[in-house]
Symmetry: D4
Subunit: 251 residues, 8 copies
């Protein structure tokens, strides 16, 4: 942002811009205002290779409108998270959307080439954690990463995880996904020497309290190198993993 | 208890006891009333080989009084839990008390011979969990069990636990003790095929919320065969482990 | 597991296995990977006489697939928990499933012979606790135990429980099931001298907070010998009770 | 209060009071304003036979000042709750205070004669609950009630309670006091047919969460006729029990 | 109960009963066992003038079965709480049931004559609290009490409550019902000098957390003489109010 | 109210009113009692320019009845909050109701002229917060205020808020609405020098716990001048903002 | 801030400032950086007539340092909240500090003249709430407001509040302070027609959970016009009340 | 680890190791067992350039013992977190310890050279957050990173943060530390395009609930690229930041 301010100031200095025009320019919105949403048109430059629409609570029409704006602005890959098959169908009439049922996630446009530094391992404790795991994995892929999926590797059957020790120890970033007691994050955190992003899920019943148990467990992980995102936040984990996996590449 | 009732009834039938005497007998307290406590004198028969005094919130004088009563009634081994060194010192002037500083636990009298079926493994995740672990281990020993201690085997360094796989897989009962994220119980539950008693501890800070995190984690364990006792309840775990470890012996 | 490693090492020593083959063997999965699940084929040996599929969140097709694998591997008795009547009907077309409506639980195959040491008493406080109680009781039966059911024996009418004192005092293991204030576990814990597994249920309203009240009550039980499993976890209680009830038999 | 308004209005009608005087009279405070407290001088008439000062957070000087005012207004019996021995000593220099150490409660003046309808039973689960139990019992006595104390009758040793069945079933009101799992209230509620006032205490550790466990347990009591007051609120229970025990006498 | 035991013992003494018969008699259930429920046939004697079936989670068939048993045993008035109109319709085909839609409560049989000592005031803060208020009021009536209803008298419009000061101050027992902030109980508790039973309701949204806010508020009431029952527990409040309102009559 | 009492007293003094008539007058309800509701007919004078009916949990018929009463009493503008389109349709047959779908709010009658001192800014963090934001904005308009809406200005894209700095700094009152982490209130509180009313919303998932996260965040705001209303309470915020915005005008 | 930017831009346009100088100027901190704190030197202009130092967790030396800076910058009135008498003594050696013991608050410098529009009423439920109440009242006075204190007016003795109805109804802003059940805010909110700022306090015990009960109660207030600040946040309430009380004066 | 297994297998194959020796080797502990701790001697290789001792709950003697072992094993830099000045003094007698008072952290040995890819910005909202911030900053430095400290940049004075926009936007990793409402993480997350590690602190009072408010706020951050560690876990954040900042360097 400081670059933009500098450019505006230089134009004022050069007499190309009046003070009032400059003030206006500083305020001029780097987003399109659709009424129901302010669509950020500069985020790509700022945040990476793709754009995302959080679909929950938006109508198919609103999503279509946002997609119109983003694609007109040149976005090549756009994730639409948490949409129903029906919403996906309506959007698909106007935009080239590939819909993934398990994570209820659509991808508009083509996937970018894989330009991350290493692989991202997405490890999930149980079958029921797959919607969150797929949201994370597809997000990571949509941002240009090589992804290895390790599903149903919960700690109650440790040999299932240990049989994939090579993938775990060779990963550049690991996303550890678990509901119930969330122990997977600690065990992986103890085995691996790369950043581990823990995603608690709302899978479970009774004293899992909608993911609270896994969340607290992961926050208290005795393994170093583990951090946590919100319950069921597969997208957030995939996005952050991609950002870390591109560390050596962007600068 | 039905035996006692039967005996009383038989005496009534035999005319040895009037109805009013019988009513009184049914009510007659199988405990000594010290005012501040009703000391159960039959519990040994009912519950096992030792007696316990929960020391927290009792004065040295009160504990001494209860000990007087119990020892007069013939108790050979009496645990006194959660007492300060100073309280232990005062009690020790009247009774043969061995005091263990880490778990703040005293044992009055001699330890019984080890008559359990197998070994009880007491596994603790970290050094700070030792007070609870020792309370559990000493309790199990006071009730006549062979105990193996595995301390500092938290899942963040899985190899520390795996290097003791033999002990874990050879145990008759395992007590898994952990604070923070409490993952140890699930990992052990997945490895072992004996009953696992999980004890959450209040060790930790921040989002451990005084042991709540470990407690929820253990309750949600995805491993079968795991049950949970109260936070920091080493005595309860040791007592239950002993009861299970004597299953084949008592009946 | 150490036995397997030893065998592999002996083959390497004998020249029957190359180092790379050995490494592979260590990693070779003792489970069948169905994509959506890793089906453990050795668990029977490790855990007892039956196998279980947690049905919640799985489709009838997925469950059928897992059943195919397990039965092909020789499993005689397989529990399928928490499935709807409709799911049960679909599964039943391919597998010999007996469906129990109250606990929403299916059993595939024949029940094993009762080879436990004693009886398991399943005591439930109220009529509404029956789904959890039946899940526990049927699980215990599926793992080869004699089960006595004591339903509607909540402490508000103490005479109902006391009229079954013989069963309570003669049990080898007791499962105490209650929602609301969960006091049944403490009262039974005080009466019995065998291990008591407490199962809080989500039965209740208002300040029962989905079973939290009963859960906390049971964790704080002033009776020794009581441990707790997750809210509504009838299966876990039945499984653990069976494990304890087979203590003298397996080793 | 409507009587007072009527009297004022009648005086206005009779010309004995001007409108402004009447307005003032309505507002005239039936309390003495000490700056740090508004001491209610009419409460005795309204609420019963004694007055109470909640001592926590008040200095000995403030309490002495309030006592001055109350005794000047003719109060015969005044409870001062939750004060330290030192505070009690200072107050005792000016007022005839009898101090009870266990509940940290002082009584100024003489106890009234026992004019309640029946007996109030104060039942406490454990020795550690005695401070709350004594606060309740002494309060009930200070308000003119016959009190029977049943201490250390927790449900883990049911025979201790059952041996006092006569007292329980003959009570006019019962105060059931328990920490930890709070089951005593439900068991007594099921046995008795009089109002039961349950008092959860903060006795316990770990998952007792400062009395929350007992509180929830008591609120969820499956026994009818049980109501609950705040954690550790012995005074409130004693006061309410007295009010109920005087039901037939006051009107 | 002690009377029953005495009678049995006297028969043994008189030789009218063998010891085994006596043992059996002590155990003989004072309830009918319907399989899904143990119907208490002696509760009327023990608890008051009516019987209640908690309908939630029971089928119309089960309720009908319990009603058959109770009416065969001579019960004149039976409440059936928390049933749907459809369930009420089915029950009504077999039993004379009057259904009240707002509290979803049915009354089988005739109301008893009003034999309480005074009036019970049922005060509710808002219109939405009416289901709970009517459950309380109808329960009190079914147990033979005169009831005065004061609805929509929440403290935000204090004049609405103050305009009914006469009823409040003339009541023998008051049931104060409120959701949201639950302040009604404290205000009534401060005005009245009779026992006040506070019922928090789940009415509200956001930070009312399903009645938790009102519950905590009522437990912390600064007014003496207030006790609390579970959230939405209109029946419990009505039952307890009746018990208190019959204090002078039963003994 | 004191004015009314004074007038009644003056009439008594003047002999125009008997004491009994006066007592009655004091009690005479300044509301119409519809059975299911006490409709306050004097609130307008007391609280501002409009009246409100909280629609949740009321039938269309009840709302219509209240509207009849209010409009007969001369109310010009009446808000009906939280009603479904179907309820709105039914009401609309009898009353001139304009229905707003997003906040599910109806306005009966004409909007008053804008007579507030300045502008009220309604700032909402995300698109999903619009129902609450519109409830606040429409309420403020219904009470006679100029409203500026700033939607989708969450702090994750700070430039969106900063581009509206003029409106923020020129506001007389600001309503800051946000779910999830609720940071908007703190940021606006730091920028503005007028009262800021923070409204947490239940928008979010996982650890937002139904608005709890935003609520706590706003209560802990490090910015001075921020106060908080209940989760999703757009009406309350709009009403309070109006009251503040009319501060210089009413007195 | 936009004015500052405009001035900088005008200087760039006029050639008085180079682009780099301008960039620097935009960034130049309107605060003095003391290392341990960034002391805001422009806040007075932005926020009102006084400055505040939150003393908790700061050393006397740090506070003295900040005072040096603020007074050098011309601040006339500076509040120092939450400091011990000892800290106050040390500060007082260098600065003219008046210390108030009850709220543990110091005021450096002279109080400003009272220039608010009306009076601010500070109403507190109990004597124990006085520290918070005085923090609020002194803050309001330090920001130039006329303050009326109404202490010990909790709703359990409603007549104490009603006797001050004139002050309540004549206030421009009311701060309602209460712990325990927090009902005072709702009752005042129903009586008054000015903004009411509710301050929950941590006064209480047991189920008050450190102020949570009062906080929830106040957030759920059924009275309109009430908003809430953090538990014990007397300063925040006094500051906001002052801001509202100066609404007609500042613009 | 697979490398180690391979080497052992190769030795078995080569006949250099018997099967039993190999089994032993697999189990041989890569740690020194001090009784009270198992000191990991291979962690450096696995986890980075330094070693850490969590000092809370360890005696000075225990820490000295662990330091002896680690330094004998060649560790150059060892952090000792959360120790008192007195503990530091005792340790310092045996080891070259530099003690930092604010974060209560000691560093034994020399700091490594800075070999991270970029800079780590440690931003803290308030002065009271400095202990956590310094723990994070010193940890990052001890693991070989360039650190920029931005303290007292909370969002209530947004200009303080914006004046450091260059540092924020130029960072390779940012650690955002805040108590109270924790909004700093979201605002920084929105501005920066690098990974942001959020650390909630226990700073605050009332509804901050020991850091819960900040924790929930950060977990719900609407900004992408933010993950969270435990409350007050400065070490964990510093360690993870270092790991990410070395991404391009280690592989």
């Amino acid at each position: 942002m400081s670059d933009d301010v500098r450019k505006i100031l230089e134009k004022v200095q050069a007499g190309e811009l009046s003070v009032d025009e400059a003030l206006l320019a500083v305020k001029k919105e780097p987003f399109a205002d659709l009424g129901y949403a302010k669509v950020d048109l500069h985020r790509k430059t700022r945040n990476g290779a793709a754009e995302v629409i959080y679909g929950a609570g938006k109508t198919a029409e609103q999503i279509t409108g946002i997609l119109d704006t983003l694609r007109a602005a040149g976005e090549k890959t756009i994730l639409v998270t948490r949409i129903s098959p029906e919403t996906a169908r309506i959007i698909g009439e106007e935009h080239p959307l590939t819909y993934h049922e398990i994570p209820r996630l659509g991808i508009v446009g083509e996937l970018p080439r894989k330009d991350g530094c290493g692989t991202i391992v997405v490890a999930a404790a149980g079958t029921s954690d797959m919607p969150v795991a797929e949201e994370a994995a597809l997000t990571a892929e949509a941002y240009g990463n090589e992804v290895i999926r390790l599903y149903d590797v919960g700690v109650a059957g440790l040999h299932r995880l240990l049989s994939h020790l090579d993938e775990v120890m060779g990963a550049n970033v690991i996303i550890a996904i678990a509901g119930m007691e969330g122990a997977l994050a600690s065990v992986i955190g103890g085995l691996a020497d790369c950043p581990v992003i823990a995603v608690p899920t709302s899978v479970g019943y009774g004293a899992s309290f909608g993911g609270l148990s896994a969340l607290l467990s992961m926050l208290n992980s005795c393994a170093s190198g583990v951090s946590v995102v919100n319950i069921d936040n597969g997208f957030g984990a995939g996005f952050l993993a991609s950002r870390i996996n591109h560390m050596g590449t962007k600068r």
